[in-house]
Amino acid sequence: MSDTLAPPRETRPAATPPPAGRFRKPNWNALLVEGRALIALAIIVVIFASLSPNFLDPSNLILMTRHVAMNAILAIGMLMVILNGGIDLSVGSTVGVTGVIAGYLLQGWDMPLTQLVAYPPVWVVIAASVLIGALVGWVNGVLVSKLNVAPFIATLGMLYVARGIALLITNGETFTKLQGEEGLGNTGFITALASAPLGIPMPVWFMVAFAVVFSLLLNRTAFGRWLYATGGNERAAELSGVPVKRVQTIVYVLSGLCAATVGLLLTADLPAATPRAGEFYELNAIAAVVIGGAALSGGRGTIRGTLIGAFVIGFLVDGLVLVGVSVFWQQVIKGAVIILAVAVDQLQQSLQKRRALRRVAAATNRPGAPRPA
């Protein structure tokens, strides 16, 4: 892991690497950046724990983690896109449209050209909406990689399109008959996705599974390396024979898959399929990824960091509710934390730089000035 996941030169803190650095380099910066996110998380936990006795109560932690999970899964998909140097604003809408598809199919799908109504089994329903999610992502991918539309714009457009489609499918209504009927053999959707095996809610299980799978993808496969390469220097990657276009397309498909998963989990959790589900989720996902130390310019970021970022956001939001901060203040604080969490390590860096300089200046009289400890 440590080989691939390092930031480009410009953004590296001054006080890395130690003398032996050139020869074996555990990846300080990635650790450091994540460390910063961890600190943010720690602070949040400490503050809220001291303000609310219930914060650390296990059932509450499980609860908050369930909320985190949704955003975390989106963030993992978002990380793929951001590593590639892109961004995916359409995930929120994809959550909406996939959830609605699931709800629609569970309600019963009156097939075109026939009087028949089909009640597909749950696995078909799930497969279908996952497929739709992948499709949305694929369209984004093609727009970006083949048509060179700026990711921000391609996915912004898709944000509107997908949301519109979700609304068209439901005609603005909400689907609630999701439990299915024995007779129709389409039961079990909710239990499958909203149960809590071993007391751990399903979304959390999914979060863990996704985290494992995607870190393997990033750190053990050629695709992972290609992804970091395209994010680091696309031209170089292309000249090295990396199928940059395909990599670019795939990351958006992956993001779409993650969004679809969240769409299903959310629908089962409510339980109801509403066309507005997931609005603005993209912002939290992006915030999580960046707080987790990823660079929006691409090529730098880790699953671990992203998860931490998701916990920072999630615990903050829930914590504010828990201690009963006024609605309006919640927004202000959330915004401030996002900025601070990212600004902090920049401050660190400049401080370290200044300290290094002072050390040298101080030691000037000694010839053969200081080497770092």
Binding site: A6, P8, R9, A236
Partner: protein
Amino acid sequence: MTQVAERPANAEPDADVVLRAVDITKTYGVTRALKGVNFDVRRGKVTVLFGENGAGKSTLMKILSGVEQPTGGVLELDGEPVVLASTNDAVARGIAIIHQELNLCPNLSVRDNIFIGRELRTRRGDVDYAREARITRELMERLEEPIHPSTLVADLRLGQQQIVEIARALAADARILIMDEPTSALSAAEVEVLFKIIDDLTADGVAIVYISHHLEEAIEVADHAVVFRDGELVADRSAEGLTLPWVVAAMVGREAEYDFTGAAREFGEVALRIEDVRVVDPDAGGRLAVDGVSIDVHAGEIVAVYGLMGAGRTELMEALSGREPIASGRAVLGSTDLAGHSIQERIALGIGLVPEDRQRDGLVQLMTVGQNLSLASLLGAVRRGFVSRKHERGGIDDQIRDVRVKTAGPEALITSLSGGNQQKVVIGKMLLTRPKVLLLDEPTRGIDVGAKGEIFSLLFREAERGLAVLYVTSEIGEALTASHRVVVMSKGRVVREFDPRTCTREEVMAAAGEAGGDVHPKEPDSE
């Protein structure tokens, strides 16, 4: 030009030719980079391309390696016509290239950069990092460069980065290996190593195409010499009796050797006083890239700073220009201490830098030649709050003339110029600010003799008008022929000064710590 033998397009193929370019043309918009070139690559031979900046060398190489598509003409591999639609196509057919400019992913390790796009897999199908690392280590030993496979490329010196580029090409096991300016950032010793490797490869029957503006160097390896001029192949001969004067003549159609050792040397008072300056390596925190350097540069004097890569010269330059802070010591311009002055203020005071990496630090690629030229001196053209087109355009036209930029005009895109001409634009930009002291870091990297001559005569002309010049070079010949004084840096310190008229190459190189086999510090952090 008598000995230049024109080669007929329809010469009968000879057995050794593995790759042949037949009547290749390439046009970029209006510029005709290649005008019907016939070019052969021979098995087990080193074919060297000579040619001025913009002659079309890189363009042809990009076509031979599938990076660019020719506008017209055919490529024949072993007599068979082929289309190289992508670099993969080329690699699949055994053609590898070392690009003139670095193409590395700074955020990846050396190992990853070498194996990107052709990963070694385990039986489980995932990447076999261990084996890749082992091969990388072997390559690095072969190149005598102590770089650990998992080092970040971003942490490498330019020179080391170029070594990685070479290693990547070697790892491809190509039967045709194209090297476009592979040594522009390498030390003499590293070049020697490369040449050993080239010998081994040719012995194994690998065909090599070699491009370099270090002419002596190129002549040394050549089995076969080809000369380009203005997109045409003007000479094609075997290397026996190949001499520097012939090459230069064929390249520029005239004698263009330069030697300024005789230049006037009445200097004014000290223009730039550098006193015991220390600079912290921006990347390796705490480590000193410049460790107590003191140099005086007088008005009208041209001082060359010679040294190996990693000597810390770039850091010195960047500190003087204001890009990096001076940790301790003073730099005094005339009577003003530069401490605490921004880059902008320093340029106004009369000191500016022509950076080492023109693409990263020198040019605004989206802008035109004119806009790049006037960027640093724009305020001078401001009248009543607005930029006066007349004044701006005036300065630009003068500069294009003075610096002899080969361009369609001020409105041409800077990216449409060849490397050398781009460099001239960067220098012209700084001269337009009417500096008292001009700093240049590797001003002639990847630039042809003709252009080098022009650039130095330009500098000496300005020097006679009182400009003080401090420039970094890694070319010993240049340091000795184009300076009033040579300062040798090593490991962040000034080790000695020489008078180019009296000293010898050997002395200088020895002082730089370049003599003998092991010249590159095994411990990079002792640089």
